[in-house]
Symmetry: C2
Subunit: 182 residues, 2 copies
C-alpha cells in the first residue's frame, strides 16, 4: 500500500522516521523498520554503514526538513508574526491528529538515544535551525532583533511543550490554543 516505487534508501528513512517518532529510538528494532520498509538487512547496512544510528540521524533530518517546509508555508502569506504563528500551530495540530498523537520527531528520535554526543549536537543544530527559520520570518514581518529572537524562541518552546501535553492527553486542543498565550 505504501510507497511501492520509492527507492530503498528513501523507504528506510521514511519507515524509520514514522516508527521512531511514535516509539522513540530505543523502542524500535531494526527488524521492525525493515519489515515496514520492505527491505532486507543487507540494504540497510549498505546505505547506512553505521546502522541504526545513521538511520536515526537521516530520519531526524528528513523530519526536520518537513517541519521547516511547514513553517515556511505558514509564514509565507502571514500578515504579522502572530498570524504566521497561529497558522503554524493549527497546521501542527492537524498533523498531530493525523499521525496519531506522536511527539516531536527530533526529541523522540535523537534525545532518548545513546549518549552519543553526535545525537545531541544534531538535535541542537536542528532545533536552532527551526528557531532560526521562525526568527527570520519574525524579522521580515517587522519585529526588531531583540523581539524577533525572544518571540521565535518562545514560540518554539510553547509548541514543544504543548506537543508533549497534547500527547499525554491525546488531544490537540492545547496545541491549537498556543497562539492565545502569544
Amino acid at each position: 500500500m505504501e510507497t511501492p516505487a520509492l527507492p530503498t534508501k528513501d523507504r528506510l528513512i521514511r519507515a524509520a522516521a514514522i516508527l521512531f517518532r511514535s516509539h522513540g529510538y530505543n523502542g524500535v528494532g531494526v527488524a521492525e523498520i525493515l519489515t515496514e520498509a520492505k527491505a532486507p538487512k543487507g540494504s540497510l547496512y549498505h546505505h547506512f554503514p553505521n546502522g541504526k544510528a545513521d538511520l536515526a540521524v537521516a530520519a531526524a533530518r528528513a523530519a526536520s526538513d518537513e517541519m521547516l517546509r511547514l513553517a515556511a508555508a505558514s509564514f509565507a502569506e502571514a500578515k504579522s508574526f502572530n498570524d504566521g504563528a497561529a497558522t503554524l500551530c493549527h497546521k501542527l495540530a492537524k498533523l498531530f491528529d493525523k499521525t496519531g498523537w506522536d511527539t516531536c520527531p527530533i526529541a523522540a528520535t535523537l534525545l532518548p538515544g545513546p549518549d552519543n554526543p553526535d545525537f545531541r549536537a544534531e538535535a541542537q543544530h536542528i532545533y536552532d535551525g527551526w528557531i532560526g527559520e521562525i526568527h527570520d520570518h519574525a524579522a521580515r514581518l517587522g519585529l526588531d532583533e531583540a523581539q524577533a529572537q525572544a518571540k521565535s524562541e518562545a514560540l518554539f518552546i510553547a509548541i514543544q511543550g504543548a506537543w508533549t501535553l497534547a500527547r499525554a492527553r491525546c488531544d490537540s486542543d492545547v496545541l491549537r490554543r498556543v497562539p492565545d498565550s502569544l
Copy 2:
C-alpha cells in the same frame, strides 16, 4: 556509596527513576536497574509483579511527588504568581544542571514506553496534577479563575518546552529565561 540502608523496594524505585529519566523507558534494561539498586531479580518481581511496567509507574509517581514538592516550595513564600513561577524555574534549572541535563521524568518514563493505555493515562493524570497544583497557587495569589487556568497551563507548557530545548543544548539558560516571557 548510595543509600545503603534504604529498603529494597525504595532502592529499586529510586534507581529506576534516575535511569528512566536519563535514558527513557526503552533505553534501560532491568538488569541495569538491578545493578544500580543492588538488588536481585527475585526482589523486583516480588515487589512489582508486572515487572518493568509496574516499576516505571512507581518511578514516575515518585518523580511527580518530588516535582509537586518543588512547586509547593516555590510558591509557598511567593508574593505573586510571577514571583512563584520565577522561583520554580530557577529551582528547576538548578536541578537540571545537577542531574546532568535529563528530560522531564514523566515524558521519559511513560510516553515512549509501550502503547499501554495505562501509561498514557498515568502521564496525563500526573501532568494535570502539576497544572492543578500551579493553578491553585495562582488562584490563591489573586488571579481570577480564567486567568489562573490559562497561566498555570502556559507555565507548564513553557517549562516542558524549555526543558527539551535545554536538554538538546546542554544548557539550563533557556529554563532560567522562561519567566521573562511570562
